[in-house]
Protein backbone atom coordinates (compact mmCIF):
# COMPACT_ATOMS: atom_id res chain seq x y z
CA UNK A 1 0.00 0.00 0.00
CA UNK A 2 2.76 2.37 0.96
CA UNK A 3 4.65 1.24 -2.11
CA UNK A 4 1.62 2.04 -4.33
CA UNK A 5 1.19 5.49 -2.82
CA UNK A 6 4.88 6.20 -3.28
CA UNK A 7 4.66 5.05 -6.90
CA UNK A 8 1.72 7.28 -7.68
CA UNK A 9 3.40 10.22 -5.98
CA UNK A 10 6.52 9.61 -8.00
CA UNK A 11 4.49 9.36 -11.20
CA UNK A 12 2.64 12.57 -10.43
CA UNK A 13 5.81 14.51 -9.73
CA UNK A 14 7.20 13.03 -12.96
CA UNK A 15 4.14 14.36 -14.74
CA UNK A 16 4.65 17.75 -13.16
CA UNK A 17 8.07 17.91 -14.71
CA UNK A 18 6.64 16.83 -18.11
CA UNK A 19 3.96 19.52 -17.86
CA UNK A 20 6.57 22.15 -17.07
CA UNK A 21 8.60 21.32 -20.19
CA UNK A 22 5.54 21.08 -22.42
CA UNK A 23 4.17 24.38 -21.11
CA UNK A 24 7.44 26.16 -21.71
CA UNK A 25 7.49 24.81 -25.25
CA UNK A 26 3.86 25.87 -25.74
CA UNK A 27 4.79 29.43 -24.85
CA UNK A 28 7.29 29.47 -27.71
CA UNK A 29 4.64 28.07 -30.04
CA UNK A 30 1.88 30.46 -29.06
CA UNK A 31 3.69 33.76 -28.50
CA UNK A 32 4.19 34.54 -32.21
CA UNK A 33 0.45 34.17 -32.77
CA UNK A 34 -0.48 36.31 -29.77
CA UNK A 35 2.05 38.89 -30.88
CA UNK A 36 0.53 38.89 -34.36
CA UNK A 37 -3.00 39.36 -32.95
CA UNK A 38 -1.92 42.01 -30.48
CA UNK A 39 0.01 44.02 -33.07
CA UNK A 40 -2.87 43.83 -35.53
CA UNK A 41 -5.03 45.84 -33.11
CA UNK A 42 -2.50 48.58 -32.35
CA UNK A 43 -1.89 51.98 -33.83
CA UNK A 44 1.35 52.42 -35.74
CA UNK A 45 2.83 54.49 -32.89
CA UNK A 46 1.84 51.93 -30.28
CA UNK A 47 3.43 49.10 -32.26
CA UNK A 48 6.76 50.96 -32.07
CA UNK A 49 6.61 51.43 -28.32
CA UNK A 50 9.48 50.17 -26.15
CA UNK A 51 8.86 48.30 -23.87
CA UNK A 52 6.21 46.62 -26.02
CA UNK A 53 2.55 46.68 -24.98
CA UNK A 54 0.70 43.37 -24.97
CA UNK A 55 -2.86 44.65 -24.65
CA UNK A 56 -3.46 47.65 -26.94
CA UNK A 57 -4.96 50.67 -25.17
CA UNK A 58 -7.66 50.85 -27.86
CA UNK A 59 -8.56 47.92 -30.04
CA UNK A 60 -8.12 49.20 -33.56
CA UNK A 61 -10.25 46.87 -35.62
CA UNK A 62 -10.08 49.50 -38.32
CA UNK A 63 -6.64 48.08 -39.24
CA UNK A 64 -8.56 45.19 -40.72
CA UNK A 65 -10.89 47.40 -42.72
CA UNK A 66 -7.89 49.45 -43.85
CA UNK A 67 -6.31 46.32 -45.30
CA UNK A 68 -9.55 45.48 -47.07
CA UNK A 69 -9.69 49.00 -48.52
CA UNK A 70 -6.04 49.38 -49.60
CA UNK A 71 -5.80 46.12 -51.51
CA UNK A 72 -8.34 43.89 -53.11
CA UNK A 73 -8.25 41.44 -50.23
CA UNK A 74 -11.73 40.02 -50.79
CA UNK A 75 -10.69 39.17 -54.32
CA UNK A 76 -7.60 37.30 -53.00
CA UNK A 77 -9.83 35.42 -50.59
CA UNK A 78 -12.22 34.43 -53.32
CA UNK A 79 -9.39 33.34 -55.65
CA UNK A 80 -7.80 31.24 -52.91
CA UNK A 81 -11.13 29.74 -51.92
CA UNK A 82 -11.99 28.88 -55.50
CA UNK A 83 -8.56 27.35 -56.15
CA UNK A 84 -8.72 25.32 -52.94
CA UNK A 85 -12.27 24.08 -53.49
CA UNK A 86 -11.63 23.18 -57.14
CA UNK A 87 -8.48 21.20 -56.42
CA UNK A 88 -10.02 19.43 -53.44
CA UNK A 89 -13.24 18.34 -55.13
CA UNK A 90 -11.33 17.29 -58.24
CA UNK A 91 -8.81 15.22 -56.29
CA UNK A 92 -11.45 13.51 -54.20
CA UNK A 93 -13.36 12.40 -57.29
CA UNK A 94 -10.51 11.46 -59.62
CA UNK A 95 -8.18 9.92 -57.05
CA UNK A 96 -10.89 7.79 -55.47
CA UNK A 97 -12.03 6.54 -58.86
CA UNK A 98 -8.51 5.53 -59.87
CA UNK A 99 -7.80 4.15 -56.40
CA UNK A 100 -10.86 1.91 -56.65
CA UNK A 101 -9.62 0.48 -59.95
CA UNK A 102 -6.10 -0.08 -58.58
CA UNK A 103 -7.41 -1.68 -55.40
CA UNK A 104 -10.28 -3.86 -56.67
CA UNK A 105 -10.26 -4.40 -60.43
CA UNK A 106 -8.08 -6.66 -62.54
CA UNK A 107 -6.58 -5.35 -65.75
CA UNK A 108 -3.43 -5.91 -67.81
CA UNK A 109 -0.49 -3.65 -66.93
CA UNK A 110 -1.89 -2.77 -63.50
CA UNK A 111 1.33 -3.00 -61.52
CA UNK A 112 3.45 -1.24 -64.14
CA UNK A 113 1.01 1.66 -64.38
CA UNK A 114 0.82 1.84 -60.60
CA UNK A 115 4.58 1.99 -60.16
CA UNK A 116 4.90 4.56 -62.95
CA UNK A 117 2.29 6.66 -61.18
CA UNK A 118 4.14 6.44 -57.88
CA UNK A 119 7.37 7.56 -59.58
CA UNK A 120 5.72 10.98 -59.92
CA UNK A 121 6.11 11.33 -56.14
CA UNK A 122 9.87 11.43 -56.70
CA UNK A 123 9.79 14.48 -58.97
CA UNK A 124 10.46 17.69 -57.04
CA UNK A 125 8.15 20.55 -57.99
CA UNK A 126 10.91 22.90 -59.15
CA UNK A 127 12.00 20.40 -61.79
CA UNK A 128 8.65 20.65 -63.55
CA UNK A 129 8.25 24.38 -62.89
CA UNK A 130 9.72 25.71 -66.12
CA UNK A 131 8.23 23.24 -68.63
CA UNK A 132 4.88 23.57 -66.85
CA UNK A 133 5.01 27.31 -67.32
CA UNK A 134 5.59 26.80 -71.04
CA UNK A 135 2.75 24.29 -71.29
CA UNK A 136 0.37 26.64 -69.50
CA UNK A 137 1.41 29.54 -71.70
CA UNK A 138 0.84 27.49 -74.83
CA UNK A 139 -2.58 26.45 -73.57
CA UNK A 140 -3.25 30.14 -72.93
CA UNK A 141 -4.08 29.28 -69.33
CA UNK A 142 -1.80 31.80 -67.58
CA UNK A 143 -3.76 34.14 -65.31
CA UNK A 144 -6.86 31.95 -65.36
CA UNK A 145 -8.49 29.62 -62.88
CA UNK A 146 -7.65 26.72 -65.20
CA UNK A 147 -3.98 27.04 -64.32
CA UNK A 148 -4.70 27.39 -60.61
CA UNK A 149 -7.01 24.38 -60.45
CA UNK A 150 -6.63 21.77 -63.20
CA UNK A 151 -2.99 20.67 -62.81
CA UNK A 152 -3.70 20.39 -59.07
CA UNK A 153 -6.52 17.84 -59.35
CA UNK A 154 -4.29 14.93 -60.38
CA UNK A 155 -2.48 13.48 -57.42
CA UNK A 156 -0.33 10.37 -57.18
CA UNK A 157 -0.21 10.77 -53.42
CA UNK A 158 -4.02 10.96 -53.13
CA UNK A 159 -4.53 7.92 -55.34
CA UNK A 160 -1.99 5.96 -53.30
CA UNK A 161 -3.52 7.00 -49.97
CA UNK A 162 -7.06 5.97 -50.99
CA UNK A 163 -5.90 2.76 -52.67
CA UNK A 164 -4.25 1.69 -49.42
CA UNK A 165 -7.48 2.38 -47.58
CA UNK A 166 -9.67 0.53 -50.12
CA UNK A 167 -7.36 -2.50 -49.94
CA UNK A 168 -8.19 -2.74 -46.26
CA UNK A 169 -11.96 -2.98 -46.81
CA UNK A 170 -13.50 -6.50 -46.80
CA UNK A 171 -13.76 -8.09 -50.25
CA UNK A 172 -17.13 -9.68 -49.40
CA UNK A 173 -18.87 -6.34 -49.82
CA UNK A 174 -17.92 -6.24 -53.46
CA UNK A 175 -18.87 -9.87 -54.06
CA UNK A 176 -22.31 -9.29 -52.57
CA UNK A 177 -22.87 -6.22 -54.71
CA UNK A 178 -21.80 -8.10 -57.84
CA UNK A 179 -24.36 -10.81 -57.13
CA UNK A 180 -26.96 -8.07 -56.77
CA UNK A 181 -25.97 -6.99 -60.28
CA UNK A 182 -24.35 -3.66 -59.41
CA UNK A 183 -22.08 -2.11 -62.04
CA UNK A 184 -18.46 -1.36 -61.20
CA UNK A 185 -19.28 2.31 -60.92
CA UNK A 186 -22.21 1.43 -58.68
CA UNK A 187 -19.97 -0.58 -56.34
CA UNK A 188 -17.50 2.31 -56.18
CA UNK A 189 -20.16 4.96 -55.65
CA UNK A 190 -22.56 3.18 -53.32
CA UNK A 191 -20.22 0.90 -51.33
CA UNK A 192 -16.61 2.05 -51.37
CA UNK A 193 -17.08 5.81 -51.16
CA UNK A 194 -19.52 5.81 -48.23
CA UNK A 195 -17.28 3.45 -46.27
CA UNK A 196 -14.20 5.60 -46.77
CA UNK A 197 -15.27 8.91 -45.34
CA UNK A 198 -12.35 9.09 -42.88
CA UNK A 199 -9.75 8.52 -45.62
CA UNK A 200 -11.53 11.00 -47.91
CA UNK A 201 -11.58 13.62 -45.17
CA UNK A 202 -7.86 13.10 -44.59
CA UNK A 203 -7.09 13.56 -48.27
CA UNK A 204 -9.37 16.61 -48.40
CA UNK A 205 -7.47 18.13 -45.49
CA UNK A 206 -4.09 17.57 -47.09
CA UNK A 207 -5.30 19.15 -50.31
CA UNK A 208 -6.96 22.10 -48.60
CA UNK A 209 -3.83 22.80 -46.61
CA UNK A 210 -1.47 22.54 -49.58
CA UNK A 211 -3.69 24.68 -51.81
CA UNK A 212 -4.50 27.39 -49.32
CA UNK A 213 -0.85 27.89 -48.44
CA UNK A 214 0.51 27.40 -51.97
CA UNK A 215 2.91 30.10 -53.12
CA UNK A 216 5.24 28.77 -55.82
CA UNK A 217 2.71 27.68 -58.42
CA UNK A 218 0.49 30.80 -58.38
CA UNK A 219 3.59 32.99 -58.19
CA UNK A 220 4.81 31.63 -61.50
CA UNK A 221 1.52 31.14 -63.27
CA UNK A 222 -0.26 34.40 -62.45
CA UNK A 223 0.81 37.99 -62.78
CA UNK A 224 -2.42 39.99 -62.91
CA UNK A 225 -3.52 41.64 -59.69
CA UNK A 226 -7.03 40.24 -60.08
CA UNK A 227 -5.72 36.65 -60.09
CA UNK A 228 -3.63 36.93 -56.93
CA UNK A 229 -4.10 34.35 -54.19
CA UNK A 230 -3.69 35.20 -50.50
CA UNK A 231 -0.04 34.15 -50.15
CA UNK A 232 0.96 36.39 -53.04
CA UNK A 233 -1.43 39.13 -52.01
CA UNK A 234 0.00 39.45 -48.51
CA UNK A 235 3.63 39.20 -49.63
CA UNK A 236 3.17 42.03 -52.12
CA UNK A 237 1.28 43.91 -49.42
CA UNK A 238 4.41 43.55 -47.32
CA UNK A 239 6.35 45.02 -50.21
CA UNK A 240 4.19 48.15 -50.12
CA UNK A 241 3.91 48.58 -46.34
CA UNK A 242 7.29 47.33 -45.23
CA UNK A 243 7.15 48.68 -41.69
CA UNK A 244 3.48 49.30 -41.00
CA UNK A 245 3.33 46.22 -38.82
CA UNK A 246 -0.22 46.64 -37.51
CA UNK A 247 -1.54 46.53 -41.07
CA UNK A 248 0.77 43.63 -42.03
CA UNK A 249 -0.28 41.64 -39.00
CA UNK A 250 -3.97 42.28 -39.71
CA UNK A 251 -3.42 40.93 -43.22
CA UNK A 252 -1.57 37.89 -41.83
CA UNK A 253 -4.39 37.19 -39.36
CA UNK A 254 -6.99 37.34 -42.10
CA UNK A 255 -4.98 35.03 -44.37
CA UNK A 256 -4.44 32.36 -41.73
CA UNK A 257 -7.65 32.37 -39.69
CA UNK A 258 -9.75 30.15 -42.02
CA UNK A 259 -7.23 27.29 -41.97
CA UNK A 260 -6.66 27.56 -38.23
CA UNK A 261 -10.43 27.35 -37.68
CA UNK A 262 -10.74 24.34 -40.01
CA UNK A 263 -7.87 22.73 -38.14
CA UNK A 264 -9.42 23.27 -34.74
CA UNK A 265 -12.74 21.77 -35.85
CA UNK A 266 -11.30 18.81 -37.77
CA UNK A 267 -8.06 18.25 -35.88
CA UNK A 268 -8.74 14.58 -35.24
CA UNK A 269 -8.72 13.96 -39.00
CA UNK A 270 -5.62 16.10 -39.53
CA UNK A 271 -3.67 14.17 -36.92
CA UNK A 272 -4.99 10.76 -38.00
CA UNK A 273 -4.30 11.50 -41.65
CA UNK A 274 -0.76 12.58 -41.00
CA UNK A 275 -0.06 9.72 -38.63
CA UNK A 276 -1.55 7.34 -41.22
CA UNK A 277 0.67 8.64 -44.02
CA UNK A 278 3.66 8.16 -41.74
CA UNK A 279 2.85 4.58 -40.88
CA UNK A 280 1.90 3.55 -44.39
CA UNK A 281 4.89 5.27 -45.90
Amino acid sequence: MVQLAADSLKRRSGHLWVHAVLLLGSVFMVVPFLWMLSTSLKTYAESMQVPPVWIPSDWHFDNYSKVLETVNFTRYYWNTFFMTAGRTIGQLLLCSLAAYAFACLRFPGKSIIFVAMLSVLMIPSQVVMIPSFVIMRNLDWLDTFYVLIIPGIFSAFGTFLLRQFFMGLPKELEEAAKIDGSSYFGIYWRIYLPLSSSALVSLAIFTILASWNDLQWPLIMTSEESMRVLSIGISSFQGQHATDYPLLMAAAVMATIPIILIFIFFQRYFIEGIAMSGIKG
Binding site: S26, M36, V127, M249, G278
Partner: protein
Protein backbone atom coordinates in the same frame (compact mmCIF):
# COMPACT_ATOMS: atom_id res chain seq x y z
CA UNK B 1 -9.54 -13.18 -71.72
CA UNK B 2 -13.18 -13.85 -71.20
CA UNK B 3 -15.86 -11.34 -72.05
CA UNK B 4 -16.35 -10.46 -68.38
CA UNK B 5 -12.62 -9.92 -67.85
CA UNK B 6 -12.47 -7.60 -70.86
CA UNK B 7 -15.41 -5.66 -69.51
CA UNK B 8 -13.71 -5.33 -66.11
CA UNK B 9 -10.48 -4.12 -67.73
CA UNK B 10 -12.33 -1.58 -69.87
CA UNK B 11 -13.97 -0.09 -66.81
CA UNK B 12 -10.68 -0.07 -64.94
CA UNK B 13 -8.92 1.83 -67.73
CA UNK B 14 -11.76 4.31 -67.80
CA UNK B 15 -11.48 4.86 -64.03
CA UNK B 16 -7.72 5.37 -63.97
CA UNK B 17 -7.55 7.35 -67.22
CA UNK B 18 -8.09 10.86 -65.78
CA UNK B 19 -5.42 10.59 -63.07
CA UNK B 20 -2.90 8.69 -65.20
CA UNK B 21 -3.25 10.99 -68.22
CA UNK B 22 -3.24 14.10 -66.04
CA UNK B 23 -0.07 13.03 -64.27
CA UNK B 24 1.53 12.17 -67.59
CA UNK B 25 0.72 15.57 -69.11
CA UNK B 26 1.35 17.77 -66.08
CA UNK B 27 4.18 15.94 -64.28
CA UNK B 28 5.94 13.28 -66.34
CA UNK B 29 6.14 15.14 -69.64
CA UNK B 30 7.44 18.34 -67.94
CA UNK B 31 10.02 16.29 -66.03
CA UNK B 32 11.35 14.85 -69.28
CA UNK B 33 11.18 18.25 -70.98
CA UNK B 34 13.08 19.74 -68.07
CA UNK B 35 15.92 17.33 -68.63
CA UNK B 36 16.08 18.31 -72.30
CA UNK B 37 15.89 22.03 -71.48
CA UNK B 38 18.84 21.68 -69.12
CA UNK B 39 20.92 20.93 -72.23
CA UNK B 40 19.82 24.08 -74.04
CA UNK B 41 20.13 27.82 -73.93
CA UNK B 42 16.68 29.35 -73.92
CA UNK B 43 15.10 32.70 -73.14
CA UNK B 44 11.62 31.16 -73.03
CA UNK B 45 10.45 32.76 -76.27
CA UNK B 46 12.58 31.81 -79.27
CA UNK B 47 13.26 28.12 -79.88
CA UNK B 48 15.74 26.51 -77.47
CA UNK B 49 19.26 25.98 -78.89
CA UNK B 50 21.02 22.77 -77.92
CA UNK B 51 24.36 23.36 -76.22
CA UNK B 52 25.11 19.96 -74.71
CA UNK B 53 26.53 19.98 -71.21
CA UNK B 54 27.62 23.62 -71.30
CA UNK B 55 25.12 24.66 -68.64
CA UNK B 56 26.54 22.12 -66.23
CA UNK B 57 30.09 23.23 -66.94
CA UNK B 58 29.04 26.79 -66.25
CA UNK B 59 27.25 25.75 -63.04
CA UNK B 60 30.41 24.19 -61.69
CA UNK B 61 32.07 27.63 -61.90
CA UNK B 62 29.08 29.79 -61.02
CA UNK B 63 29.87 31.20 -57.59
CA UNK B 64 26.33 32.41 -57.02
CA UNK B 65 24.93 28.97 -57.72
CA UNK B 66 27.57 27.14 -55.70
CA UNK B 67 26.87 29.46 -52.80
CA UNK B 68 23.16 28.69 -53.09
CA UNK B 69 23.93 24.98 -53.03
CA UNK B 70 26.10 25.50 -49.95
CA UNK B 71 23.36 27.57 -48.27
CA UNK B 72 20.81 24.86 -49.01
CA UNK B 73 23.06 22.20 -47.47
CA UNK B 74 23.74 24.36 -44.40
CA UNK B 75 20.03 25.07 -44.01
CA UNK B 76 19.14 21.39 -44.37
CA UNK B 77 21.79 20.07 -42.03
CA UNK B 78 20.81 22.61 -39.39
CA UNK B 79 17.04 22.24 -39.76
CA UNK B 80 16.58 18.49 -40.05
CA UNK B 81 18.57 17.26 -37.02
CA UNK B 82 17.23 20.07 -34.80
CA UNK B 83 13.63 19.48 -35.83
CA UNK B 84 13.84 15.72 -35.52
CA UNK B 85 15.59 15.78 -32.14
CA UNK B 86 13.12 18.25 -30.65
CA UNK B 87 10.18 16.41 -32.20
CA UNK B 88 11.42 13.15 -30.71
CA UNK B 89 11.61 14.70 -27.24
CA UNK B 90 8.17 16.25 -27.70
CA UNK B 91 6.64 12.97 -28.89
CA UNK B 92 8.21 11.11 -25.95
CA UNK B 93 6.79 13.68 -23.52
CA UNK B 94 3.33 13.50 -25.12
CA UNK B 95 3.43 9.71 -24.87
CA UNK B 96 3.56 9.69 -21.05
CA UNK B 97 -0.26 9.50 -20.79
CA UNK B 98 -0.44 12.93 -19.20
CA UNK B 99 -3.61 14.98 -18.98
CA UNK B 100 -4.17 17.51 -21.74
CA UNK B 101 -2.19 15.60 -24.36
CA UNK B 102 -4.65 16.64 -27.09
CA UNK B 103 -4.42 20.29 -26.13
CA UNK B 104 -0.62 20.26 -26.24
CA UNK B 105 -0.67 18.44 -29.55
CA UNK B 106 -2.99 21.08 -31.00
CA UNK B 107 -0.76 23.91 -29.82
CA UNK B 108 2.39 22.40 -31.27
CA UNK B 109 0.64 21.61 -34.51
CA UNK B 110 -0.84 25.03 -35.33
CA UNK B 111 2.42 26.41 -36.79
CA UNK B 112 2.49 23.45 -39.19
CA UNK B 113 -0.79 24.41 -40.82
CA UNK B 114 -0.20 28.15 -40.89
CA UNK B 115 0.62 29.72 -44.25
CA UNK B 116 4.44 29.97 -44.51
CA UNK B 117 4.19 33.45 -45.98
CA UNK B 118 2.21 34.67 -42.97
CA UNK B 119 4.60 32.89 -40.60
CA UNK B 120 7.47 34.67 -42.31
CA UNK B 121 5.77 38.06 -41.92
CA UNK B 122 5.18 37.52 -38.22
CA UNK B 123 8.75 36.40 -37.63
CA UNK B 124 10.14 39.38 -39.55
CA UNK B 125 8.34 41.50 -37.03
CA UNK B 126 9.52 39.39 -34.06
CA UNK B 127 13.09 39.65 -35.39
CA UNK B 128 12.94 43.41 -35.89
CA UNK B 129 16.13 44.72 -34.34
CA UNK B 130 14.68 47.90 -32.82
CA UNK B 131 11.07 47.14 -31.92
CA UNK B 132 10.92 43.35 -32.21
CA UNK B 133 9.81 41.26 -29.29
CA UNK B 134 12.78 38.88 -29.38
CA UNK B 135 15.43 41.54 -29.02
CA UNK B 136 13.40 43.27 -26.34
CA UNK B 137 13.34 40.07 -24.28
CA UNK B 138 17.04 39.41 -24.93
CA UNK B 139 17.84 42.99 -23.96
CA UNK B 140 15.99 42.81 -20.68
CA UNK B 141 17.91 39.61 -19.88
CA UNK B 142 21.16 41.48 -20.72
CA UNK B 143 21.88 39.09 -23.57
CA UNK B 144 23.34 40.13 -26.93
CA UNK B 145 20.76 41.41 -29.40
CA UNK B 146 21.70 40.15 -32.87
CA UNK B 147 20.51 41.86 -36.00
CA UNK B 148 18.70 38.68 -37.00
CA UNK B 149 17.86 39.29 -40.62
CA UNK B 150 20.38 41.94 -41.60
CA UNK B 151 23.54 40.29 -40.41
CA UNK B 152 24.70 38.03 -43.19
CA UNK B 153 26.47 35.72 -40.76
CA UNK B 154 23.24 34.70 -39.04
CA UNK B 155 20.44 35.48 -41.52
CA UNK B 156 20.27 31.87 -42.72
CA UNK B 157 20.17 30.57 -39.15
CA UNK B 158 17.33 32.97 -38.39
CA UNK B 159 15.38 31.22 -41.15
CA UNK B 160 16.39 27.83 -39.73
CA UNK B 161 14.85 28.82 -36.38
CA UNK B 162 11.52 29.59 -38.07
CA UNK B 163 11.57 26.28 -39.96
CA UNK B 164 12.27 24.33 -36.80
CA UNK B 165 9.51 26.20 -34.98
CA UNK B 166 6.99 25.43 -37.69
CA UNK B 167 8.13 21.86 -38.39
CA UNK B 168 8.31 20.26 -34.94
CA UNK B 169 4.58 19.54 -34.72
CA UNK B 170 4.45 17.58 -37.97
CA UNK B 171 7.35 15.28 -37.12
CA UNK B 172 6.15 14.89 -33.55
CA UNK B 173 2.71 13.68 -34.65
CA UNK B 174 4.22 10.96 -36.84
CA UNK B 175 6.70 9.93 -34.14
CA UNK B 176 3.95 9.92 -31.52
CA UNK B 177 1.92 7.50 -33.66
CA UNK B 178 5.02 5.33 -33.89
CA UNK B 179 5.59 5.45 -30.12
CA UNK B 180 2.00 4.47 -29.43
CA UNK B 181 2.58 1.36 -31.53
CA UNK B 182 5.36 0.09 -29.25
CA UNK B 183 4.12 -2.55 -26.85
CA UNK B 184 4.34 -1.69 -23.14
CA UNK B 185 5.65 -5.20 -22.43
CA UNK B 186 9.17 -4.23 -23.44
CA UNK B 187 9.26 -1.42 -20.89
CA UNK B 188 7.77 -3.56 -18.14
CA UNK B 189 10.39 -6.20 -18.73
CA UNK B 190 13.13 -3.56 -18.72
CA UNK B 191 11.72 -2.08 -15.49
CA UNK B 192 11.91 -5.50 -13.86
CA UNK B 193 15.53 -5.76 -14.93
CA UNK B 194 16.13 -2.35 -13.37
CA UNK B 195 17.07 -0.56 -16.60
CA UNK B 196 17.01 3.25 -16.31
CA UNK B 197 14.53 5.35 -18.32
CA UNK B 198 17.34 6.86 -20.38
CA UNK B 199 18.75 3.42 -21.12
CA UNK B 200 15.26 2.23 -22.13
CA UNK B 201 14.86 5.22 -24.44
CA UNK B 202 18.01 4.40 -26.38
CA UNK B 203 17.74 0.61 -26.27
CA UNK B 204 13.99 0.10 -26.74
CA UNK B 205 12.33 3.26 -28.01
CA UNK B 206 14.80 4.36 -30.69
CA UNK B 207 15.22 0.94 -32.35
CA UNK B 208 11.49 0.18 -32.36
CA UNK B 209 10.68 3.68 -33.56
CA UNK B 210 13.00 3.10 -36.52
CA UNK B 211 10.43 3.03 -39.34
CA UNK B 212 8.68 6.23 -38.20
CA UNK B 213 11.95 8.00 -37.51
CA UNK B 214 13.25 6.97 -40.91
CA UNK B 215 10.11 8.29 -42.63
CA UNK B 216 10.38 11.60 -40.78
CA UNK B 217 14.04 11.96 -41.70
CA UNK B 218 13.53 11.22 -45.39
CA UNK B 219 10.55 13.58 -45.71
CA UNK B 220 12.30 16.36 -43.75
CA UNK B 221 15.41 16.11 -45.90
CA UNK B 222 13.42 16.22 -49.12
CA UNK B 223 11.37 19.20 -47.94
CA UNK B 224 14.35 21.11 -46.59
CA UNK B 225 16.29 20.80 -49.80
CA UNK B 226 13.38 22.51 -51.55
CA UNK B 227 12.95 25.48 -49.21
CA UNK B 228 11.66 28.56 -51.00
CA UNK B 229 8.72 30.34 -49.34
CA UNK B 230 10.55 31.51 -46.24
CA UNK B 231 13.53 32.83 -48.18
CA UNK B 232 11.15 34.59 -50.54
CA UNK B 233 9.26 36.37 -47.76
CA UNK B 234 12.14 37.01 -45.35
CA UNK B 235 14.82 38.39 -47.67
CA UNK B 236 13.39 38.17 -51.17
CA UNK B 237 13.50 41.90 -51.77
CA UNK B 238 16.79 42.57 -50.06
CA UNK B 239 19.56 41.93 -52.57
CA UNK B 240 22.42 42.53 -50.14
CA UNK B 241 21.29 39.58 -48.01
CA UNK B 242 20.46 37.23 -50.82
CA UNK B 243 24.02 35.93 -51.13
CA UNK B 244 23.87 34.67 -47.59
CA UNK B 245 20.42 33.15 -47.85
CA UNK B 246 19.75 32.27 -51.48
CA UNK B 247 18.74 28.61 -51.76
CA UNK B 248 18.79 26.45 -54.88
CA UNK B 249 15.05 26.67 -55.52
CA UNK B 250 15.20 30.43 -55.09
CA UNK B 251 18.00 30.51 -57.63
CA UNK B 252 15.98 28.36 -60.05
CA UNK B 253 13.04 30.73 -59.72
CA UNK B 254 15.28 33.78 -60.16
CA UNK B 255 17.01 32.43 -63.26
CA UNK B 256 13.83 31.09 -64.82
CA UNK B 257 11.36 33.85 -64.11
CA UNK B 258 13.37 36.98 -63.38
CA UNK B 259 16.29 36.62 -65.81
CA UNK B 260 14.54 34.24 -68.26
CA UNK B 261 17.53 31.92 -68.49
CA UNK B 262 15.22 28.94 -68.70
CA UNK B 263 17.75 26.41 -69.92
CA UNK B 264 20.21 27.39 -67.22
CA UNK B 265 17.49 27.33 -64.56
CA UNK B 266 16.49 23.84 -65.68
CA UNK B 267 20.04 22.61 -65.25
CA UNK B 268 20.08 24.06 -61.72
CA UNK B 269 16.85 22.26 -60.89
CA UNK B 270 18.24 19.05 -62.36
CA UNK B 271 21.32 19.20 -60.14
CA UNK B 272 19.12 19.62 -57.09
CA UNK B 273 16.99 16.68 -58.18
CA UNK B 274 20.12 14.51 -58.42
CA UNK B 275 21.30 15.70 -55.00
CA UNK B 276 17.94 14.82 -53.44
CA UNK B 277 17.86 11.48 -55.21
CA UNK B 278 21.39 10.53 -54.10
CA UNK B 279 20.59 11.58 -50.61
CA UNK B 280 17.46 9.49 -50.47
CA UNK B 281 19.30 6.47 -51.90
CA UNK B 282 22.06 6.84 -49.29
CA UNK B 283 19.45 7.02 -46.54
CA UNK B 284 17.67 3.97 -47.95
CA UNK B 285 20.96 2.11 -47.97
CA UNK B 286 21.85 3.01 -44.40
CA UNK B 287 18.39 2.29 -43.05
CA UNK B 288 19.21 -1.43 -43.32
CA UNK B 289 21.79 -0.86 -40.62
CA UNK B 290 19.56 0.80 -38.07
CA UNK B 291 15.88 0.48 -38.98
CA UNK B 292 14.21 -2.75 -37.91
CA UNK B 293 10.69 -3.43 -39.06
CA UNK B 294 8.73 -5.37 -36.46
Amino acid sequence: MGRLAVREAMWAYLFIAPVVLGLAVFYMAPAVASFYLSLTQWDGLSSPSFIGLENFVELAQDEVYLRSLWNTLLYTFATVPLTCALALVLAALLNTSIKGMTAYRTIYFIPVITMPIAVGMVWRWLYNSQYGLINYVLGSLHLPQPNWLFDERIALMSIVIISVWSGIGYSAVILLAGLQGISQNYYEAADLDGASKIYQFFKITIPLLGPSLFFVLVISFINSFQVFDLVYIMVGRNDSLLDATRTVVYSVWENGFKFFNMGYASSQAFVLFVVILLFTIVQMYFQKKWVHYQ
